[in-house]
């Protein structure tokens, strides 16, 4: 196994020079993309231009965003369609290569990742591909009643089991920690045999205080920098569509991504910026990417040129415009701490049913609901069937808000 801290060897499933697209590393080796010096220089230039009124530089955007429209759902789905996790499964298998949970080895391997990063899907797919049991989390009633019958899992075998959502096994409540503590104790003791446990990185940060045993075998999906993101977006853009689309920056007309680029083509600044904004979180980057894609209102002439695009080559490839990344909504200031409590709770549990929030927060249901509705209006939280969670595009703003207020953050925030 290659997961021991400090001894990890990256899984290499590509050529020598190009880093693998999917790679699992220890959290200490996780690298969140940061602003490059080039970007800082560009920002400084923007500030200087702000004070230089007689600048001769033409600042008008290449394409006015008001003249562009969102991509039709069908085309958007085909250009950014569901991620093929097979590469991630191979990388995970390679990271686990040689590990069997035998004596002297850790019984449990944890796979930790931030929200929307896909570790739950990866683990479910991995379990399905290996045909190993996938353990579902207990219900919230069982958690609060500390129903230990859930702990009586199938007998230990030599085959690993998978628990994809550890964050669903606890509640930040005085009676909501007992079950997960016992589960982790039994799992790390080896009662259930070798197992792989997936956990949201925010919940992981909290659970390390609940169950402070040292976990030496922890894996995290390596952050997606500009190069990795370019490769992934290019793969997605050709996976379900035969026409080679070209993605161009709406503000300056520069090419962001072309389906027919060479694999080692230069990474565009827009994608580097996207990787930085998403902090290396591939799922978050895809949310931003899907949100930024635009097209021009199609005319008859355009349709004809689209039809001939395959024959004409990349120069005449249909264009998808990439709008500026939307700013992450900033949560409002609040004297009562309720906004911070709600955001933190939703992140620590990766969302929560409405009826449980008053049980874990020291405020009345009326105050909590008023705050939730306010946050939903600001597009900071979303609701689906009375289950509330942080909106993907608000994740960066919410995390920054909590960091500024000294709350516990996940370790992969960077």
């Amino acid at each position: 196994m290659t997961t021991q801290r400090g001894t990890h060897q990256p899984a290499t499933n590509t050529t020598d020079d190009v880093p693998p697209l999917w790679e699992f590393v220890s959290p200490g080796a996780f690298v969140a993309p940061r602003s490059s010096s080039e970007q800082i220089v560009r920002r400084w230039g923007a500030i200087k231009r702000l004070f230089k009124r007689d600048s001769a530089v033409d600042e008008s955007p290449f394409k006015l965003e008001s003249e562009l429209q969102r991509l039709p759902d069908d085309l958007l789905h085909r250009l950014t369609g569901p991620v093929d996790w097979s590469g991630a499964l191979s990388a995970l298998s390679e990271s686990l290569n040689g590990w069997s949970g035998s004596a002297g080895e850790p019984q449990v391997v944890f796979v930790v990742g931030p929200p929307w990063n896909g570790q739950t899907d990866i683990l479910r797919a991995w379990a399905a591909a290996r045909q190993v049991p996938c353990i579902e989390a207990p219900g919230y009633v069982d958690i609060l009643q500390q129903n230990r019958t859930w702990l009586q899992l199938p007998e230990a075998t030599n085959h690993p089991w998978v628990m994809p959502e550890l964050e669903r096994c606890y509640l930040r409540h005085a009676e909501g920690l007992d079950l997960v503590r016992h589960f982790l104790e039994q799992a790390m003791r080896g009662t259930y045999g070798p197992g792989i446990i997936g956990c949201d990185s925010w919940a992981w940060a909290y659970l390390q205080h609940v169950w402070p045993a040292e976990c030496s075998s922890v894996l995290a999906l390596q952050g997606f920098d500009g190069a990795r993101l370019t490769r992934l977006l290019r793969q997605l853009s050709v996976a379900q569509i035969s026409t080679p689309y070209c993605f161009k920056n709406a503000s300056n007309g520069h090419t962001v991504l072309c389906a027919e680029d060479e694999p080692d083509a230069q990474v565009s600044a827009a994608i580097v910026q996207l990787a930085v904004r998403a902090r290396g979180n591939v799922g978050l980057a895809l949310h931003y990417w899907r949100n930024a894609l635009r097209s021009e209102p199609e005319s008859a002439e355009d349709k004809e040129s689209d039809a001939n695009a395959d024959e004409a080559g990349v120069d005449n490839a249909p264009t998808v415009w990439v709008a500026a990344l939307p700013a992450s909504p900033i949560p409002p200031d609040d004297d009562t701490d309720l906004i911070a409590f709600i955001l933190h709770t939703l992140l620590l549990h990766r969302g929560m049913p409405e009826e449980l929030l008053p049980r874990v927060l020291p405020m009345s249901r009326q105050h909590i609901m008023a705050a939730l509705l306010r946050l939903r209006r600001l597009e900071i939280v979303e609701e689906h069937e009375q289950f509330w969670y942080i909106a993907p595009l608000a994740y960066v703003g919410a995390s920054t808000y909590l960091r500024e207020r000294n709350y516990l953050l996940d370790q992969l925030w960077g």
Partner: protein
């Protein structure tokens, strides 16, 4: 002599009238002007007293150089005694700037006052208590009073929650429960340690739950939250609270 009596009488009457009329006018107002007029009373009274003094002096003492030197010398001596604490506070303010026993945002206990430092002035430090009362504490207190600083320029402020239980109980279980109560509080800073300590008393067991809120300003809400939830779950698990006093324990 008659002039002196008239000056004194005029001053006294003016002060009495001032102290009756201005508060009456202020009572008719209900906004910020009310406080402004009330604040004028001591200022105008001081002006009347000084004016009466200045008019009286030439009537009593011949304004020769010798007499003036003696008068102002005495006055200076009296002022010196009167203002020594003021000067001491100013010097202590300079020392406080260097030694920093308190800074803005610190929660301090000084001279029986506990609250957050909201302003460090030249002569006084302003402390706002949890009940939103503003105290002006002269800096000279640092010469011979104990200054208790709960967070000392940081966000680390320990809040202690007390529980009093009947002595017949499972202490380990009580500690585990109280530990989880703190760990699950939305207010607790998980970057800091949590401790549950206890001490046997004649009337029961005194538990002290020590932890740090995320922000020092949350300390009272944090203690309330831990108290409410701790009491609820302890009762639910069958723990009895210490009800008696030392006297009843003796009985």
């Amino acid at each position: 002599m008659l002039q002196l009596a008239l000056i004194l009488a005029g001053a006294i009457v003016s002060i009495v009238v001032l102290q009756k009329v201005l508060p009456w006018i202020a009572a008719q107002l209900h906004d910020q002007r009310r406080h402004f007029i009330l604040a004028l009373v001591p200022l105008l009274r001081l002006i009347i007293i000084v004016a009466a003094f200045l008019f009286s002096v030439p009537l009593v003492i011949e304004p020769s150089l010798q007499n003036m030197v003696a008068l102002f010398g005495s006055l200076g001596l009296a002022l010196g005694f009167a203002l020594k604490d003021y000067a001491s506070s100013l010097i202590a303010g300079v020392v406080a700037t260097g030694e920093r026993p308190y800074r803005n945002g610190d929660w301090i206990g000084i001279d029986g006052v506990y609250g957050e430092v909201t302003h460090v002035g030249l002569r006084t430090v302003q402390v706002t208590s949890a009940d939103d009362t503003l105290y002006h504490v002269p800096h000279l207190k640092i010469w011979n009073e104990v200054v208790a600083n709960a967070n000392n320029g940081t966000l680390r402020l320990q809040a202690v929650t007390d529980f009093y239980l009947d002595p017949c109980h499972d202490g380990d279980q009580a500690r585990e429960i109280l530990y989880d109560v703190v760990l699950s509080s939305a207010y607790v800073s998980l970057k800091e340690p949590v401790a549950v300590v206890l001490k046997e008393e004649p009337w029961g067991t005194h538990y002290r739950v020590k932890a740090y809120p995320v922000d020092p300003q949350q300390q009272f809400s944090f203690i309330s939250d831990v108290s409410i939830r701790g009491r609820e779950i302890l009762q639910k698990r069958g723990f009895e609270f210490a009800r008696g006093t030392l006297a009843s324990a003796m009985e």
